[in-house]
């Protein structure tokens, strides 16, 4: 599995130096035979829709996918001043303020917990990861009609009863409560995935750093060790997870559609867009304009992510791009690491996780 994690630098080097002799005649034909299926699909289902959507965004097109009347930028103007659209952005912000930090904290805590278990690691990892296989719809069925069903016998209301609180019957129709339902369902579904990313990050931390720090007198189980070594070493993973979580919460659709439906107060951007284009209005002109606006927001986020993280989970590329973030790392630990690195290289105490190849040594980092 090490192959896909080639750096981009490697990749370009490989193509330029090993362009390969033209061993066989008919290269031209072979290339297009291999590439055409993808290219045709890309043109028809990505590029053409963008062009068509871009055109429609300048026209009036209600209930038809053909342009009827040229309206210039009116669709965009209408979209950007629509209070419902601004409300949907606000919904995204509120949602993100809850879901992003909570998911980060819980997935990191789970990863640290699982990583510290000497036995049954795989079992616990599987249990925490299991909800990832579940669909949003199935989870919404359970959340809406069982866990948070508003009956006194509902599981969450039972728990409230145990701690002496009153049952809540309006989980999905009143403001502070629906956020609890919306946030917990997504948390349950996605936290295992981010736990895996943090686990990979934890297992890439050179064990020598912990050894050196405990030689320097830090308590191996202590919070100081976590704060001085684990957290700074996870900076790259954390930044990547943060961006992924932000983008994912911007694209939230399934749980909002299935839990709160078309309630204007809990309507994130995609649900709002869905209702304009595919709701009763079937307004494809404004729908296309809206799709372009949201696409532009996400392309900007994507550019930011590409710049920070690179494509794929390539560790070297990630480190290179995050080099600027690492300047603030604690010096003493840094020094300890380089001193002890060689001595301890051969002790083989990295554990059974197969992460040795990912162990980054400071020399391997290239700063830009």
């Amino acid at each position: 599995m090490s192959a896909p994690s080639a750096t981009r630098a490697d990749a370009t080097a490989a193509t330029s130096t090993r362009t390969g002799p033209t061993r066989i005649k008919g290269n031209g034909l072979a290339f297009w035979l291999f590439f055409t299926p993808f290219l045709v699909g890309l043109c028809v289902f990505t590029i053409l829709p963008l062009i068509w959507g871009g055109t429609l965004s300048l026209f009036e097109a209600r209930g038809t996918v053909l342009p009827t009347k040229f309206v210039g930028l009116d669709n965009f103007r209408g979209f950007l001043v629509d209070t419902a659209f601004l409300q949907s952005l606000r919904t995204f912000l509120v949602f993100a303020v809850f879901i992003v930090p909570v998911t980060m904290a819980v997935s990191l805590a789970l990863a640290v917990l699982v990583n510290g278990l000497p036995r049954f690691q795989t079992f616990f990892r599987s249990v925490f990861f299991l909800p990832t296989a579940c669909s949003y719809v199935v989870a919404c069925v359970v959340w809406r009609l069982s866990l948070f069903n508003g009956l006194e016998s509902g599981i969450v209301n039972q728990l409230l009863g145990v701690v002496g609180l009153d049952s809540i019957s309006a989980w999905l129709s009143a403001s502070p409560y629906w956020w609890i339902v919306l946030v917990t369902v997504r948390l349950w579904l996605q936290v295992g995935f981010y736990m895996l990313l943090f686990l990979a990050g934890l297992q890439a931390i050179p064990t020598q750093m912990y050894e050196a720090a405990s030689v320097d007198g830090l308590n191996p189980g202590g919070f100081t060790m976590f704060r001085l070594i684990t957290l700074p070493q996870l900076r790259t993973t954390s930044a990547a997870v943060l961006l992924l979580l932000l983008i994912a919460s911007f694209q939230a659709f399934d749980e909002f559609y299935n839990l709160t439906g078309n309630n204007p107060e809990t309507r994130p951007p995609l649900v709002y867009l869905y209702n304009i284009a595919l709701g009763p209005q079937q307004d494809f002109g404004r729908g296309s304009a809206g799709a372009l606006v949201l696409t532009a927001i996400m392309v900007l986020a994507g550019l930011l992510q590409t710049w920070l993280v690179g494509f794929g989970s390539n560790d070297d590329a990630t480190k290179r791009r995050f080099g600027f973030l690492r300047g603030r790392r604690r010096r003493p630990v840094d020094a300890a690491e380089t001193e002890t690195a060689e001595e301890l290289e051969a002790t083989g105490s990295t554990g059974s996780t197969g992460s040795t190849e990912k162990t980054a040594t400071p020399e391997k980092e290239v700063r830009r």
Binding site: L39, V65, C134, A277, F284, S313
Partner: protein, 284 residues
Amino acid sequence: MTAQLNIVGQNRSSVGLVLRYTVASVLALVFLVPFYAMIKTALSTNDEIYSQDFVFWPSDPQWQRIPELFADPRYLDALMNSAIMAIVSTSLSILIAALAGYALVRIPHPAAKPMFILVIVVLLVPATTAFVPNFIIVASLGWIGTLQGLIVPGLFSAFNVFLFRQFYVNFPREIEEAAYIDGAGFFRTFFRIVFPNTLPFASALTVLGLIGSWNAFLWPLVVAGDGQNAMTVQIYLSSFLTAQTFDYGGLFMAATVSLIPVLLVFFVLQRYLVAGIAATGLKG
């Protein structure tokens, strides 16, 4: 193993260890509660479901809901459509991406570089907001409410092409060269030699693809239309959820059964799934 435990900065004492396993076990139970609630409700009588008293486990499990469910042709259609969609779209999209990714690095051609740049640019366009323009195209083709409308627009993943390209950059050249010396052409070499050696990597993407398309919601919702022909199991479940059904037991049984295929894939192929996330994770 003990060495690792100490190093990872955790408590050495057995008290700490007991505490850690206790916390892990309690959390594991919390994570399993929704599954318990789902199965419990699926087997409860409707009286128990609406009861104000908490019932830990149904007194008279309603197993007959399973045959009832499979007697519903709408549910069977939905399961079948989901299965077709998951299998066809995953395998075709991986094949298309493997071919394109291979061409980009292993078939010398002046167009390879511009095509790679095109792939990179397309990577930046998010797939989720594309449902409006894609609906326009699919509607124009008359594909609303059809399986091809469900499957075909999702087959061309620039991200998968990119992943395969990265994979083939590091693919050992010697194997192919032996095939070329034996006189095999590009197609023969690819299908007989290269692709079989890609299978572990392709399997990782396959697992992610199978689970992803079985669970997909937004695009199936856009395409399904009113008819039965393209209704997936997720849309089937959602239609009951949004229409305020009264047969909760049946709905929960349908949800439980819909999880079985995806859980099978999850458990049997979990090691590929973890590898797939390691390979693609940070892109999401």
